[in-house]
Amino acid sequence: MKRSRTHVTCTVNGDEVDFLASDDTSLLDALRDELGLTGAKEGCGTGDCGACSILVDGRVNCSCLMFAPEAEGSDIVTVEGIAQGDQLHPLQQTFLEGAALQCGICTPGFLVSAKALLDENPDPTETEIRYALAGNLCRCTGYDKIVRSVQEAAVQLRGASR
């Protein structure tokens, strides 16, 4: 017996897309398996690690905690949609230059969460950065170089917007 599937239409990284998903499919699985966007990762499946972070209508969400049909009509940004063509987002560039990744499994989630923070607050304190990223686990770096890279990207983004 095949379960029925829902037709979902939404915008992902600027493109209008549609796909079929059963009602108990997570949005993360739909992005990865139906749309082939494997940048968001599943580290826990329970919303505790943040590796699956995406933006839904500008807000950070754990895509493992959303059902795929809930994405209907929404505007979704994943790590694959952060760069402008060949031009890396300043966060991506500062993460590279600041060695803010080691294994790289948590990096997509951190970039998405940090982008949401800087979109909202262009001049965060170190403490604000640490709390904004507290939902993203990294086991390799001790967070030092991640926080510094976000600080550096904030400086660059403020400079660019002047």
Binding site: Q92, L96, R139, C140, Y143
Partner: protein, 740 residues
């Protein structure tokens, strides 16, 4: 900040280029094992034991096999029984129980179905009849006279006994006369310590995709620290020829020792063989916590004697590592890690003890953090009691080249004293302790290892190069390989592409563990490059029409008197006419791994109302030998420190009486998050390892060793409490404060 001994000036080694694999990782293109899908792929799901110890009376898979989407079911009967004493017997039993389940979470069957949901439903429909056996969860229960056996299969290593036992190993160490030394000592302090199991906590759950063809050949894509070990272990567990198996390394999302063994691949292979389809298995986080290796918990008793002016004269003690349901060498390795001070008199025993809990696995500097927690806590108490500065006391007793390790062999050139001096002279240690805070000091080291590596370096026709190794890159090692090759060849580091190749495309290479990749695989890369440079000089001599002895290699070009320098790309362009492709393979079994020491300093505040310990400032000094890519050396130091802070303050396994882990999620097993930590200041100390061409020691392991005692010592100075059990979580601190 870097403190460097005299050494040659390098052009590339010691610089901080963007890592070669970085772009893919910031745009979401990097392919980890769970990102791969094959046409026709099935999903595998395990059935795991709900019991901590039980005989399997029967397994009935008939209902499951008839369920929708199910294509194959396997149990222990689908795997060969490896003979007693076979080196992979425990691996085989741990990944699929045979007759007995040894812990809650032990796999005893697996299903492959079209979807994961179908596989999970079928696994749940497998009917198992169990005959329950006694569950042993603690070191004391396991070692008690007449204790039931944890695992009837276990024999005590090195004992020569064929009697089943709950002891994994017993390693006694002795030198001098401790009894006389304690008698003569001005001060003797003895304390007991206890630490919980802690998990490596890599963010990527174990995953693989396996495709076994009708010809019997297996293609495996897997996340591991060593794909050659995945191949050899899979071959052993299935009793297959190694040549049937090809393993392609996926990017690995953290390992820290926990991905040095296998849990999935032979099961996926058998399911694929039975179904004729590729099979993907991805663990859930709960499975990772219930069924993959944590580091051993421990109990220790340490007694140290000193003279009134702070000379440490004797150490006597015992440490037990709780290794889980099968034997491993944690106790033996712990014995090696026990004492990094001169101690003329020493009597120690390290043991491994079995319990009905998951088989423990390596975790960053395996066995050393537990030992250092005990020893460094007692040494701190001696410094306080004698009114000595904790760094001065350690400087007075620190081992230097030629001093014996706990096992007795002499230390090679090491940088322990230099690390102590670096912290003593640091801004952090020189600044006043903030109001309401207290400062702690701790140290640690790890031996590091060499082992086997291979590397192939290909020069391309345009003068670029490809450096091919078999060491999975878990923290920036590709960049290190490229930097050493750039230094040797004299070309830009970004004209070099470092590649981690599959088991059929590069020579055998041991696991990325023991901080060996940049050391040993790096040495293979250097050797290959040096042979290539000799060949380049010979080709240049042919082109210039001079004797090859007359050619030097300077800054990426062949140089001979009365000729214009001939750069590398001019030689590669003429490769065809001068002897063919320029390619060299080097392989070695590296000796001379250099121990890396670290000294940590931290300031903490303790909230006496909640028991919360806050780390306010943290500085680490570590001997890297030579930092090939300083950013990733700092990253290893910072990452190890953060894991050690988690071990000290929060991480633990909570078991119910029947052996069920009660906190098997990242919500309840709490690793440090960004808001828990301050910046982690780093001082790279460079005392080059004479056994490596660039002086590399390897830096991954040591960072996790000192934080346990460093924080406990700071908490002691903040509260007067000598905390003997980890973690120092808020409830534990609060309870201790209330008892004070």
């Amino acid at each position: 900040m870097t403190v460097t001994e005299d050494r040659p000036a390098y052009k590339w080694v010691g610089t901080r280029p963007i890592r070669h694999d970085g772009y893919d990782k910031v745009v979401g293109k990097a392919r980890f094992a769970a990102d791969l899908n094959l046409p026709g792929q099935l999903h595998g799901v395990f059935l795991r034991s709900p019991h901590g110890h039980a005989r399997i009376v029967s397994i009935d898979t008939s209902t499951a096999e008839a369920m929708p989407g199910v294509k194959a079911v396997v149990t222990g009967d689908d795997f060969p029984a490896l003979a007693a004493g076979h080196p992979e017997r425990d691996t085989a039993i741990n990944l699929m129980a045979r007759g007995v389940v040894l812990y809650v979470g032990h796999a005893l069957a697996a299903v492959a179905a079209s979807t994961r949901a179908e596989a999970a439903a079928a696994a749940a429909a497998i009917e198992v009849e169990y005959d329950l056996l006694p569950v042993i969860l603690s070191l004391d229960e396991s070692m008690a006279d007449g204790s039931p056996l944890v695992n009837e299969d276990n024999r005590t290593a090195f004992s020569g006994s064929d009697e089943p036992s709950n002891l994994a190993s017993v390693t006694p160490l002795e030198r001098g006369d401790v009894d006389a030394a304690f008698e003569a000592a001005d001060l003797v302090i003895e304390r007991e310590f206890e630490t919980s199991w802690v998990h490596q906590g890599y963010i990527e759950p174990h995953a693989c995709v396996v495709d076994v063809g009708a010809d019997g050949k297996a293609d495996i894509w897997a996340s591991s620290q060593g794909h050659f070990r995945v191949r050899s272990q899979t071959a052993a567990v299935l009793d297959w020829d190694t040549a049937r198996i090809k393993v392609t390394p996926a990017e690995i999302g953290g390992g820290f020792g926990g991905k040095t063994t296998i849990y999935l691949e032979p099961v996926a292979a058998r399911l694929s063989e039975k179904s004729g389809r590729p099979v993907k298995i991805v663990m859930t986080r709960e499975e990772v916590l219930r069924a993959t290796g944590p580091a051993p918990g421990s109990k220790a008793r340490i007694r140290i004697g000193a003279t009134s002016d702070g000379e440490l004269t004797a150490i006597e003690g015992w440490i037990g590592y709780i290794v889980g349901c099968v034997n491993n060498m944690a106790g033996f390795i712990g014995a090696m890690s026990l004492a990094s001070y001169k101690f003329p008199n020493l009597k120690l025993e390290a043991v491994g003890v079995l319990t009905n809990t998951p088989a423990t696995a390596a975790y960053r500097a395996p066995s050393a953090p537990q030992a250092a927690f005990a020893v460094e806590s007692v040494i701190d108490e001696i410094a306080q009691t004698l009114g000595l500065d904790p760094i001065d006391l350690r400087l007075k007793n620190a081992v230097v080249e030629g001093d014996p390790t706990a096992m007795g062999m002499p230390h090679p050139r090491i940088g322990f004293v230099e690390c102590l001096e670096a912290i003593r002279d640091s801004d952090h240690y020189g600044s006043p302790v903030p109001d309401g805070a207290a400062r702690g000091i701790g140290t640690g080291f790890w031996f590091n290892i060499g082992e086997q590596s291979s590397a192939t370096v290909n020069l391309n026709e345009d003068g670029t190069a490809t450096v091919i190794t078999g060491s999975p890159d878990i923290g920036g090692s590709r960049a290190s390989m490229a930097l050493m090759a750039a230094e040797e060849l004299g070309i830009d580091v970004h004209r070099i592409t470092p590649v981690v190749a599959d088991t059929e495309s590069v020579g055998f290479t041991d696991v990325t563990e023991g901080s060996r990749a940049t050391f040993a695989t790096g040495m293979a890369v250097v050797n290959a490059c040096r042979e290539l440079v000799d060949e380049l000089k010979a080709r240049a001599a042919t082109i210039m029409g001079v004797d090859s002895e007359a050619v030097d290699w300077i800054d990426g070009a062949a140089v001979a008197e009365e000729h214009d320098p001939l750069p590398l790309d001019a030689i590669t362009a003429k490769a065809k006419g001068t002897g063919g492709p320029l390619t060299v393979t080097a392989s070695l079994n590296a000796g001379g791994a250099g121990p890396s020491f670290a000294v940590h300093c931290c300031d903490v505040a303790v909230d006496e109302e909640t028991g919360q310990v806050t780390v306010l400032r943290y500085t680490t000094a570590q001997d890297a030998g030579t930092a090939i890519h300083p950013s990733y050396v700092e990253g290893q130091m910072q990452g190890g420190t953060a894991q050690g802070i988690g071990w000290a303050l929060n991480e633990e396994y909570v078991y119910s009486e029947d052996g069920t882990m009660l906190n098997a999620s990242f919500l309840d097993y709490r690793v440090p998050v960004a808001s828990d930590l301050p910046m982690i200041e780093t001082i790279i100390v460079e005392v080059p390892n004479p056994a490596h061409p660039y002086g590399v020691r390897g830096v991954g392991e040591t960072g996790i060793v000192p934080p346990l005692a460093t924080i406990a010592n700071a908490v002691n100075r903040a509260t007067g409490l000598r905390i003997s059990a980890l973690p120092m979580s808020p409830p534990a601190i609060l309870a201790a404060l209330n008892e004070r």
